[in-house]
């Protein structure tokens, strides 16, 4: 006979509010194997856990059921509690009577009846639990960071500082990310390049950091501590060991192409570095626009290259590397405002996005910092800045607030006034300045730089002569207003990186409906994912500004450092297990396993008549198996089971719930 202890939690009023704790206790007492029942206001609290440990010892309990919140919340907490009392931590089951019951069923009678059923399920299941031990596996002491923006660079520097090797994979030819495109940064207006380039140079010179630019992650196998990642190093057509970055090749290259880094405002050559301070300062050849690749002629770059580093027949290279941990820092994209037909983006040249303005005002940008209108190059006198373009718009854009536009629009207003004494009209709905020094920055924009803030969304922008007429309503006055602007800047929304969901599927991490990656817990574990060993930093997890991004990068780096500094890693024991006595050796489980953890092996056996025979059976490599259980269903005879979720367990749970 088992001696099961059932601990029903009040969770303050979260459970007790709509579940009758006494009735649940009374019902639990009558369930098979239940020897002890107790309730507690806050079972997860220190006294709550102490009460469990006391009961285990005094009542000689050999199994524990905690009826409280979701196992995804506190299963580990209560495993440590039970372990602390000398009982194997896996002789524990959780009944989720909060998220799956009290919080969603207001009717107390039905809620209580369901809570009793959920407790009975846990009691029937725990009776079938067996003690399990955690196995330990070794850790590859090496980290991978996907994305070379400020998040990736900061995380790489922190990890390298802790003496652990790290590889940064960056899709574009240079690290730096979107921050490299910015001119000044709020709220201190210090120049983006001045604070970013030193970090980029540190990253390049740090022995522990390997930069793999112009490369992408192709495939990820394995699991925490033992990831095997295939990286595609795209053909650069430049031998980086020989190239000195002297720049003769791109000065001689005849092919002129619109520069992605300058968002089409500036041009670049077919062989190019995206921006002057690029790290590594080694060019790549853009096969789509290179005259040689198109027509087989030209080869100017090769002719003029003093170090002979150009090689046209270089091919993509697939490299396989082993890592213990991965940080995803792939950043964001600016939303393309073309769905706003009424703002004429793409139709009127002088309607530009915030990032495009950053390139205009940037001293190392295509216009050397002169804010020249794209249409006729004149300096704008009146500038309209439209907030929330795409953001907070379920109809044509995205439902959420992009968090950074209010601040960078205030910055643009200040820069416009400071540099060319232009007058900014900022059409806003709310000016959100939540950070330190942010409200003061907004005050400067209005008081010192005389930006006119008009509360109301612009309905339409149209060309009239060489002016752009913006129709709005000053909702504070209740009057229609019109501004004839020389330049219109759209504070366009911050959205997910292109192909974010594809990378998530490659990594096996989840993402939300806006293709931002889902953190393990919104408040308590913001930089971890539900996939052990994979961490998040920066805008790929949701819109955020540079201070927050750098903070997250540090946090993710510290998680990786603590993971990689462990000598061994303890793995979950909830893996597949074969009952060799009844296994027929058909091996139909083998093709199911995504981790290739199952293989055949031969066992020797004496059979009737004294003869020893050899027969094939399935064998599970416990360190590769992640416990998904897909193989168990292919096993007709039930020889293959998953510890913690065995056939016996689930059949018992079904029976318990159907009583």
């Amino acid at each position: 006979m088992r001696r099961v202890g059932v601990f029903v939690c009040w969770c303050g009023s979260n459970i007790a509010g709509t579940v009758d704790i006494e009735q649940v206790k009374a019902a639990a007492a009558k369930m098979p194997n239940v020897a002890y029942v107790e309730d507690n206001k806050y079972t997860c609290s220190e006294p709550g856990q102490a009460a469990i440990q006391k009961a285990i010892k005094e009542q000689k309990l050999d199994r524990v059921v905690v009826a409280a919140c979701s196992p995804r919340m506190h299963e580990n907490t209560f495993r440590r509690t039970v372990g602390g009392a000398g009982l194997n931590p896996y002789l524990l089951e959780i009944a989720n009577i909060r998220e799956h019951c009290s919080w969603v069923h207001p009717d107390k009678v039905a809620g209580t009846r369901k809570a009793v059923d959920l407790v009975r399920r846990a009691v029937y299941k725990v009776a079938k639990n067996v003690p399990l031990q955690r196995a330990s596996i070794d850790v590859t002491k090496r980290a991978l960071i996907i994305g070379g923006g400020i998040a990736g660079i900061q995380a790489a520097l922190d990890i390298a500082d802790a003496g652990q090797p790290v590889v940064v994979v960056e899709k574009t030819p240079s690290i730096g990310g979107h921050m490299a495109q910015l001119d000044k940064t709020f709220p201190t207006l210090d120049c983006s390049a001045c604070i970013l380039t030193p970090k980029m140079v540190d990253a390049a010179q740090n022995q522990n950091i390997t930069l793999m630019t112009w490369s992408e992650v192709e495939k990820v196998d394995g699991y925490i501590g033992n990831f095997t990642v295939t990286i595609r190093k795209k053909a650069r057509h430049v031998d980086t060991t020989k190239c000195t970055g002297c720049g003769i090749c791109w000065s001689k290259c005849p092919a002129k192409v619109s520069s992605e880094f300058d968002l089409g405002i500036g041009k670049r050559k077919a062989i190019y570095v995206p921006f002057p301070q690029a790290i590594p300062n080694k060019p790549v050849i853009d096969e789509k626009n290179c005259i040689f690749f198109k027509t087989g002629k030209c080869k100017a770059c090769q002719m003029f290259c003093p170090t002979g580093s150009i090689s046209f027949d270089q091919k993509d290279e697939l490299v396989e590397e082993k890592f213990g941990a991965i940080i995803v820092a792939t950043g964001y994209e600016q939303w393309d405002p073309s769905p706003y037909g009424e703002y004429g983006y793409g139709r009127y040249k002088d309607v530009i996005t915030g990032l495009e303005f950053e390139r205009l005002v940037n001293a190392s940008g295509p216009t050397e910092g002169k804010i020249k209108r794209p249409s006729d190059g004149k300096l704008p006198k009146d500038v309209v800045i439209i907030q929330c373009v795409g953001s907070r718009d379920e109809a044509k854009g995205i439902p959420y607030c992009s968090k950074t536009c209010c601040m960078y629009s205030a910055k643009h207003a200040i820069l416009l006034e400071e540099k060319i004494h232009a007058h900014s009209y900022v059409f806003y709905m709310d000016v959100r300045t939540p950070g330190k020094g942010y409200e003061e920055f907004y005050k400067r924009a209005t008081e010192e730089h005389h930006a006119t803030y008009i509360r109301g969304r612009v309905s339409r922008v149209y060309q009239k002569g060489d002016k752009l007429v913006c129709l709005g309503e000053d909702t504070l006055l209740g009057k229609k207003v019109e501004v004839e602007a020389d330049l219109v800047i759209l504070a366009s929304a911050m959205v997910h990186q292109n192909g974010a969901s594809k990378l998530a599927q490659t990594l096996g991490i989840s993402y939300d409906q806006n293709e931002f990656y889902t953190e393990a817990h919104a408040k308590l574990r913001p930089v971890e994912t539900n996939t052990a060993g994979i961490f998040l930093a920066g805008a790929c997890q949701g819109p955020k500004d540079i201070p927050e991004t750098v903070a997250q990068a540090g946090a993710a780096a510290s998680k990786v450092i603590s993971l990689l500094s462990k000598p061994k890693l303890e793995t979950e024991p909830l893996v597949a297990q074969v009952n060799e006595a009844i296994c027929s050796g058909c091996l139909w489980c083998k093709p199911i396993c995504p981790y290739k953890a199952i293989d055949g092996k031969v066992v020797k056996e004496r059979i009737a008549g004294g003869k020893t025979i050899e027969r094939p059976v399935a064998a599970v490599n416990a360190s590769l198996c992640q416990g998904c259980g897909a193989c168990t269903v292919a096993c007709r005879t039930g020889a293959m089971n998953v510890l913690g979720f065995t056939n016996e367990h689930i059949l018992a749970e079904v029976d318990a719930l159907c009583l």
Binding site: M73, R121, Q505, A630, F645, L651, V654
Partner: protein, 162 residues
């Protein structure tokens, strides 16, 4: 009817499960839910944290992956008296174990048709992909299934008569 099929009188138990006797007073359909830990169970938790109300007719069993849900568990649930079963997991491509739900999809494309073929009303077994951020969808699925089952009445086709 093929030559092998005999119309011999039923030698089994007295009550013929297909005669639709009306549901007892105050009857509430019972739904057994199998939910994968990484997506649907998390979605159900999200419905909880967002206080989305839905009928209390479902009891959820947590499994590591939808690939773990053996169709025999579903028939067992019907046998033990469940009126409806929900099998739910991650959207294809989102599986934490990368391929678990692809196998589940194949198994349940076949099993759902086969269970209906054996005479269980189609609405009783619902298979749905519900992600960790679709708390509302989880609640709606439970509500829809409960209403359909109320209309259908108790499940008697596979139920064990003691």
């Amino acid at each position: 009817m093929s030559v092998n099929e005999k119309a011999a009188p039923a030698a089994g138990p007295a009550t013929n499960p297909t005669t639709a006797t009306p549901a007892p007073e105050g009857w509430e359909p019972k739904i057994i839910g199998f939910a994968c830990n990484w997506c649907t169970y998390a979605g159900a938790d999200l419905a909880g944290t967002s206080r989305i109300q839905y009928p209390p007719n479902i009891r959820v069993i947590r499994v590591p992956c939808s690939g773990r849900i053996n169709p025999q568990f579903v028939v067992r649930a019907f046998q033990r008296g469940a009126d409806g079963v929900l099998v739910a997991g991650c959207h294809p491509g989102d599986c934490h174990y990368s391929t678990g739900n692809y196998f589940a999809r194949r198994r349940y494309l076949l099993a759902k048709r086969f269970i209906e073929y054996l005479g269980v009303e189609p609405e009783r077994l619902q298979v749905r992909w519900i992600s960790g951020s679709e708390g509302q969808k989880f609640a709606d699925t439970v509500r829809e299934l409960t209403e359909k089952l109320r209309a259908l009445g108790p499940q008697r086709r596979l139920r064990e008569t003691l």
